[in-house]
């Protein structure tokens, strides 16, 4: 029973790796509460977008997570 967290861009540096498996939590708040405070704060910032299983999430509070879900935390892009 696990969730996969993906940290893109500078979040990878904050987390110390690009990916991490964590125990299943039903809500995003539950996931963040189990992380280091510095990382949780960085992930909760307003500028960070969230995708679950490749689809962007608009209402984080309404999110219901399931075993095997992949949560990608996406900072502002700086491409091209």
């Amino acid at each position: 029973m696990a969730l996969r967290l993906v940290f893109m861009g500078r979040l990878e540096t904050v987390a110390g790796s690009g990916e991490r498996d964590v125990p299943v939590a039903a809500t995003l708040a539950g996931v963040l509460a189990a992380l280091e405070p510095e990382l949780a704060e960085a992930l909760a910032a307003e500028s960070i977008k969230l995708a679950v299983n490749g689809a962007l999430v608009s209402d984080r509070a309404a999110l219901a997570l399931n075993d095997g879900d992949e949560l990608a935390f996406l900072p502002p892009v700086s491409g091209g």
Binding site: M8, G9, T13, A51, A55, V77, S78, G79
Partner: protein, 148 residues
């Protein structure tokens, strides 16, 4: 083949790609292309582009479809690198073919402005042996507003 959109994790040859793209565009009166490459700045040793598989290529395909809907094109080529690059390496190649030049210019610029500010890429630079993440630039968002 009106649309050719690719995300590459290996170097590519822009001249060969343009030759191939142009060869199939007999109906086009003009082809406008833009090649972006790693800028050779004094202290920059390397550049890395990260992408997120489920979003990056689908986003580039949506962008190409938008351009094809917006202008009457004979073809549109979008190639973007990901991974590790060095000064002088090609990063992005956009080419738009149209019967008339204005449509080709506009579509190529539209595609580039959106790739720079909206596509799912994260960039970091290595200088003095240290990696540093690059933050978005305000000017890229200003460029985008021209199309809204």
């Amino acid at each position: 083949m009106a649309r050719d959109v690719r995300l590459l994790d290996m170097p590519f040859d822009p001249q060969a790609e343009l030759t191939r793209f142009s060869a199939d565009r007999a109906l086009a009166g003009g082809i406008v292309s833009f090649l972006g490459q790693v800028r050779g700045e004094a202290c920059v040793e390397a550049l890395e582009l990260q992408h997120y598989e489920p979003l990056t290529l689908p986003g580039m395909e949506t962008l190409a479809n938008d351009a094809l809907r917006r202008w009457p094109l004979e073809g549109l080529l979008v190639i973007h690198r990901t991974g590790l690059m060095h000064p002088g390496d090609p990063i992005v190649l956009v080419a738009a073919a149209a019967r008339h030049r204005r449509d080709a210019f506009a579509a190529a610029e539209f595609a580039m402005d959106h790739l720079k500010s909206e596509s799912w890429f994260w960039k970091r630079e290595k200088s003095d042996g240290k990696w540093r993440w690059i933050e978005p630039r305000a000017v890229d968002f200003d460029d985008l507003k021209r199309w809204q």
